[in-house]
Symmetry: C2
């Protein structure tokens, strides 16, 4: 199977990765959440080739994650801003970054600290169940299959 056909699968994760799962894309989103909006600034900060950056920004736009909005006329120039849908990916970015903070940081410690404004402490990100409010670990979850795709997705061995 070609990667470009991955969005044809029913799996929600596969479909999401069809938009954000390419090389560089999640780093582009990292910078979006740090306030970066312009092509030149993405390019300089990431070190990605302009060609690839252009492609990724277009895909993020098509996926409804970024909006391309003009910030000046004459010459017309546009910048990229997170949509509401895009902001919903924040937990993904935070958990990936926190995993790196925990397991991959050097002696100097992590380069950035995320402070939770409400409590003033560094954010210790956890997965929470919106229903009961409890903190959730992998083993607390049981997976049920949508009967429509019965037998295709879960393993039963």
């Amino acid at each position: 199977m070609r990667w470009q056909d991955i969005d044809q699968q029913p799996c929600s994760l596969a479909r999401t990765l069809a938009i954000v799962g390419d090389r560089w894309t999640l780093l582009v989103l990292r910078d979006c959440f740090l306030g970066v909006r312009r092509f030149e600034q993405f390019q300089e900060r990431l070190g990605v080739t302009r060609h690839v950056l252009s492609d990724r920004l277009r895909k993020l736009q098509e996926g409804g994650i970024l909006d391309k909005v003009p910030y000046q006329q004459r010459p017309r120039r546009e910048e990229y801003r997170l949509t509401a849908r895009g902001r919903d990916l924040y937990p993904v970015i935070v958990h990936l970054a926190q995993w790196g903070d925990t397991y991959l940081a050097g002696e100097e410690g992590p380069p950035l600290v995320r402070i939770h404004r409400q409590c003033g402490e560094p954010l210790a990100a956890q997965l929470q169940c919106g229903h009961c409010g409890e903190t959730v670990a992998a083993r607390d979850i049981r997976v049920e299959e949508n009967p429509y795709w019965a037998g295709e997705i879960l393993i039963n061995n």
Copy 2:
């Protein structure tokens, strides 16, 4: 900059993506969390080429996310199991999948539902601050720079 040098950056997210940010890798992890452990099963479920699968499993191993453990001798065969570090990536998988459930599912609805055993309801994943227990959105976070890398990471415009 080449993608393979991305782990040289101080950014924790970049370092994490050096391990899990390649095509197919997060889908391999999805299957790990569904209980898949064997090469043939990953290959059949994902449709990824054996070559690439072999490469990704090796990188996940080297990154401490999977353990390769023998499940039989004669002929010796090995399977791949999530380590504790690997299980810590569960929130990433859940949030990516939930984003797809929300924005990309077809009329039939999402293919899988994750049930929170403790409360019996479908998981509505949220980002929680481990300090105060509150639910966190992107705008609740302020970012501070480690003085060691002063000026290199944040934008100040």
